[in-house]
Symmetry: C2
């Protein structure tokens, strides 16, 4: 017999996982909405031209690309930013700033590994229309608040600016057409180490002394304002570099009002993998995960992309945004959120066949009160039904007996304590609501 299964790197979410995921996504959604972000959805499939426009070579190779039946080159979206940029370009009448959130799935053909899948969810909040650090601060803050609402307050936001990186690259002597290349290599610092990056830069034709100077720049560390002032003196005369420094200082000042400045650490080695970033960029890392498990990868990130929207035929619309990695968040929360097999609270079963239809009537009453209620659909004997409720983890069972019912009662069984009590039928809802 053939084996039918999910594709490599893709997963089914059974109820146990889904209940947990939904709870987490609901928290993120609430925070996004509290900040005035509005929901927006786009198709899973986009024209290849849209997807490949500004994603960078690495990601381009990972796109699920195919031809549709009309012979068009299309692909599955690899992030939620590119579709957002296309929407803003296509709908120029939208009032600005346009703040949207989207919690949805994306696809990348990567080598599957722990916490990395070929189908995964992102939770994004973006602002189109504001060129100001006010907008960058807002998206950084909404990310911080979402993670805090999930119990992840042990975070650090590593903040940098593509403009500073560009200024440094020019100062170091990287040729203008090699700057993006250099960024891509530096982005791998965590993965391939200093030696690896040096090698890659050299293979890209960047002289060793230039690379070393660049790596020296990005390893400058210290207290936020110290680092920025040191970089300022090093980049003196670089207009783009100065701009980048001033933007970060403004962002830090504004984040004070959000009560989020304390989470931010200037980190000049942050690059972000995608080609479309143009200004402030940031990553959220856990200092320690709640389960004690160390998790060095960023659980969220984002940045400013001022030129992407006009690439899709729109006017010039500056934009900035944050993206939470749902799978990584799920992983670091593993064990720290309660696990449930079922949402169902009550199971209504007949003690005798003759009152089976009565169990449905009682269940319907509970359902109308939004109490998740199940009935026996297998015509099982009572003991088997109790076994099923037990296995599923349903906390309460209502047992309907013909004689009880005639007297106007049912029996409510608490599956944890195994205690049973007789309850008047009209009081059932009230009693159960109290217990839940």
């Amino acid at each position: 017999m053939r084996e039918f299964k999910t594709l490599r790197g893709m997963r089914d979410f059974l109820p146990r996982d889904m209940i947990k995921r939904e709870r987490i996504l609901r928290i993120i959604r609430k925070i996004f909405e509290s900040y005035g972000f509005e929901p927006l959805e786009t198709p899973a499939i986009e024209y290849w031209e849209v997807l490949s426009r500004k994603c960078g070579e690495e990601v381009k190779k990972q796109i699920f690309k195919f031809k549709d039946k009309g012979g068009r080159d299309v692909g599955l979206r690899f992030d939620l930013t590119v579709p957002f940029a296309r929407v803003v370009a296509q709908n120029p009448y939208l009032p600005k700033p346009f703040k949207r959130y989207c919690i949805s799935r994306v696809w990348r053909y990567e080598r599957p590994q722990t916490g990395r899948y070929r189908e995964f969810w992102q939770a994004d909040a973006d602002i189109a229309g504001s060129p100001l650090p006010d907008a960058d601060a807002e998206v950084i803050a909404v990310g911080v608040d979402a993670l805090k609402a999930l119990g992840l307050d042990n975070i650090e936001v590593r903040l940098n600016n593509r403009k500073i990186l560009e200024g440094m690259a020019v100062k170091a002597g990287v040729p203008g057409d090699k700057i993006l290349d250099a960024f891509r290599s530096i982005d791998k610092l965590d993965k391939i180490g200093l030696e690896g990056v040096l090698e890659e830069l050299s293979s890209k034709g960047i002289p060793k002394e230039v690379s070393e100077k660049l790596l020296e720049f990005i390893s400058i560390s210290g207290e936020n304002m110290e680092v920025l002032e040191r970089v300022r003196s090093l980049l003196r005369g670089s207009k783009v570099g100065e701009e980048g420094i001033n933007e970060l200082i403004s962002i830090l000042d504004i984040l004070e009002a959000y009560d989020a400045r304390k989470y931010v650490k200037i980190d000049l080695s942050i690059v972000r993998g995608l080609d479309y970033y143009t200004g402030p960029i940031f990553e959220y890392v856990l200092k320690e995960s709640p389960s004690g498990k160390q998790f060095r990868l960023a659980i969220a990130g984002g940045g400013r992309y001022d030129n992407l929207i006009e690439l899709y035929g729109g006017p010039h619309v500056p934009a900035t945004g944050v993206s939470l990695g749902v799978e990584r968040i799920m992983e670091v929360l593993e064990g720290s959120i309660s696990e449930e097999e079922t949402l169902t609270k009550v199971y209504v079963v007949p003690a005798k066949e003759e009152v089976r239809l009565e169990t449905i009537k009682i269940a319907q009453k509970l359902r109308r009160e939004n109490i998740p209620t199940d009935v026996d659909l297998m015509r099982r004997k009572l003991d088997k039904s109790l076994e099923y409720a037990d296995k599923k983890g349903i906390p309460y069972v209502i047992i309907v007996g013909p004689r009880d019912l005639k007297e106007g009662f049912i029996v409510l069984r608490d599956m944890k304590t195994r205690l049973q009590e007789k309850i008047e039928v009209p009081k059932v809802i009230e009693v159960i609501k109290e217990k839940l």
Copy 2:
């Protein structure tokens, strides 16, 4: 300049549409959960072998099929039933009955037309493990309740049984290997008319007198029990036919307890397009849509598929389910649900630049109380900010002035009445909560 847009038959959902959709999907989800269905998700992409197993030739042609980078034949799911069947087959340890719901997107390459898209959402509730009419009645009832909760109580559930259709086809003289073919043609009755169906049946090699007999069968109409008794006498001796009739009678009896029998009409012409159905099948049609717009197509449907799960390598697990067509429901609800451009309730703006950071602090307080709140991210003048709030439809604006603030006040402006009132800062949340 190239034009970047969505693919034909696919749509962006801007906030206005998404807010409406989310509201509708939340109602459906609530009803599904109240009936004890648990959430489950599966990947958008499945192996071609899984998708093509039992969908029928028509649908097979509509699947977005492609090769992934590993050279595997894969495709986008065209419904939520097939992935559900695969999951149940792959996880035989799941306690039975296993009740799951899934509200998610599916893809079919069809000719786009009003209410029909190439990417669309379905809202499904299925029960695996029960062979009994109790389960069929439960899924029919949850569909009725979901539609009623959406305000669609003017519905009719057209109920039939594949077993009755099979009995009739055999009685009429349709050769065994042509029965599924005959069903597929009858399924088009609404689209191509009686003559069209006769022609198609003839082209499939079914003699005219056989076809006519079959069409005579399926046009039997009248009061539910009358129809079933008439069919019983016509099918006397057909074991499968008798079984089908008895199942429908049981379902009707059980639906009485759900208070849903009154919505059900036996309709022998209902076939359902997919090959995997084996027993009771049903469609929900609107007698009249709330907007007065006539809408003849089914807005939901479902049925029993007892052999699908074992086709995916699982044990024999009988199953039944209902699927709500989200796009069609959206369409019939058009105009009857309130339209909102925004979820945001409050816009906090400074009267003078010097108190800008103070507006953020006030906004943060409201956000922590789950009041969707926006702040000015454009550093606009007050009148421009009020214009923006107006355009977006944000109902309240908080204006923060330096002098007011020093005295411990802010100004709350009702954007509809244009009335402004001074409020003490510590009372802002209380006052706004009262108004919302």
